[in-house]
Amino acid sequence: MPTDLLQSVLPGLLRQVPTTLLYWFAPSAIALLLGTLLCIVRVGKHRALYWACTVFISFFRGTPGIVQIYIIFFGLPKLLWIVHVDIDGWPAGAYFIIATSLNLSCFVCEVLKGGYLGVDHGQIEAGKSIGFGRFQNFFRVIAPQTLQVSILNLKNLEIDVLKDTSVAYTIGAMEILGYANRVISNQFGVGQLWILGLAAIIYFILCALLELGFTAASHHMERHGRRS
């Protein structure tokens, strides 16, 4: 790689890393909450809510993420305009975060549901038998074990989300790939493959770090089970 290109582009790309991490973290946090709620409905007994959630999940799993981003980007302002809320001034990143959160929560829901069904039912009864209330049982028995079962699938989802932040540039949100694209068009394509290669390496390092983090977390979660 030409060193002058490296010196001029690399700092700019690295400055976008926090934005990419925000576009990764915000949807992840929202989706963990929303996905848990969806999952509670999906394993629950309320029929009407169950079918509403199933259709919602089917839509977000059956359509491409980029189409969802476009629909939120063009549709949400129109939808909120009915109740006279003006969100035209919002940055493009906000639309990306909303769309990705909705999309991700459907996948998180499915993963958590798989994990929940994998939890031994005797554990829930054991919690009840020692006098846990519903909330105590949820936070101390069900949630930790569900997370432990589903952590590997969650890791794959989170890595996908981190990579999919690169789609944000299609609606004009600036992150690593958006910056790379702007530099490429400003330079009329000079060194375009080098710049993209550099972006690829940054994404790869971020993914590797995320993978390490999740591996450490899953080891931590399995610390009680390892003895048996």
Binding site: S58, F59, R61, G62, T63, P64, G65, I66, V67, Q68, Y70, I71, F74, G75, K78, L79, W81, I82, K113, G114, G115, L117, G118, V149, I159, K163, D164, T165, S166, V167, Y169, T170, L177, N181, I184, G189, Q192, L193, L196, G197, A199, A200, Y203, F204, C207, A208
Partner: protein
């Protein structure tokens, strides 16, 4: 209700559907090459030749750590150089006005999904019971016969659910090819909406079609798996999957 142009939404539906064959073609070719790559790479991983195995793992790890968007853009920018160097090869005439972006998108999608499907191939081969190898030995089959007649058919059936998942992922992934000048369904929708700035309506049309196609494939493959897996149904009854 929302301020939507419902008449346009209905009249635009056939226009967007006309882009579906291109999306399916892109999916088909990408899946074909991805599976070819996965079979070769999976074979190399299973071959236990340390250096080949390690290099395949390194290539796949790198592909999986880089966004598909970056790979698509990389191929998009690289294809003019490659096409130029093939000028005159087997009668191919390089024409800067007709750069093969479709082929570039197929290459990027196939490489990306090939890396993931390699894992499916490897794990499906591992999922076949060891006893089946011994059974092949016991009835006097050679190692090659055993693998082609006994192991691969069973591994293929085991891999169908995962393959279906990746096929649907790939179908959805082809929507990203719209950012690299490939005229597939999403691009068709975008072009059809440009006149009246009715983007939302066109994108909703596209979403509905993607949804219908994905749900249809999922249903059809479920039936297909049930049919083709007749000889494994015995074991299905004993194994209860953890996730539903």
């Amino acid at each position: 209700m929302m301020d939507l142009d419902y008449d346009f939404m209905i009249s635009d539906l056939p226009t967007v559907v006309a882009g579906l064959p291109k999306t399916l073609m892109l999916t088909f070719w990408s899946m074909l090459f991805a599976m070819a790559m996965a079979v070769v790479f999976g074979g190399l991983i299973l071959s236990r030749i340390a250096i080949l195995r390690q290099s395949v793992i390194i290539i796949n790890t790198f592909i999986k750590g880089v966004p598909l968007t970056v790979q698509l853009l990389f191929c998009y920018y690289a294809v003019p150089y490659i096409a130029k160097s093939f000028n005159g090869f087997l009668g191919y005439q390089y024409d800067p006005r007709h750069i093969p972006y479709f082929a570039a998108a197929v290459f990027a999608l196939a490489a990306n999904f090939g890396a993931y499907i390699t894992d499916v191939v490897v794990s499906s081969m591992h999922a076949v019971d060891r006893g089946q190898y011994e059974a092949a030995d016991a009835i006097g089959m050679t190692k090659f016969q055993g693998i082609t007649h006994l192991i691969i058919p069973q591994a293929a059936v085991i891999s169908i659910p995962s393959m279906t998942n990746y096929f649907i992922w790939l179908l959805k992934g082809t929507a990203l090819a719209s950012i690299v000048n490939v005229v597939e369904m999403l691009t068709t929708a975008k072009i059809s909406a440009a006149d009246g700035y009715q983007y939302l309506e066109a994108y909703i049309d596209a979403a509905v079609i993607y949804w219908a196609v994905c749900a249809g494939i999922e249903f059809a493959m479920g039936r297909f798996e049930h049919r083709i897996g007749f000889f494994m149904r015995q074991s299905e009854r004993t194994i209860t999957p953890i996730s539903s």
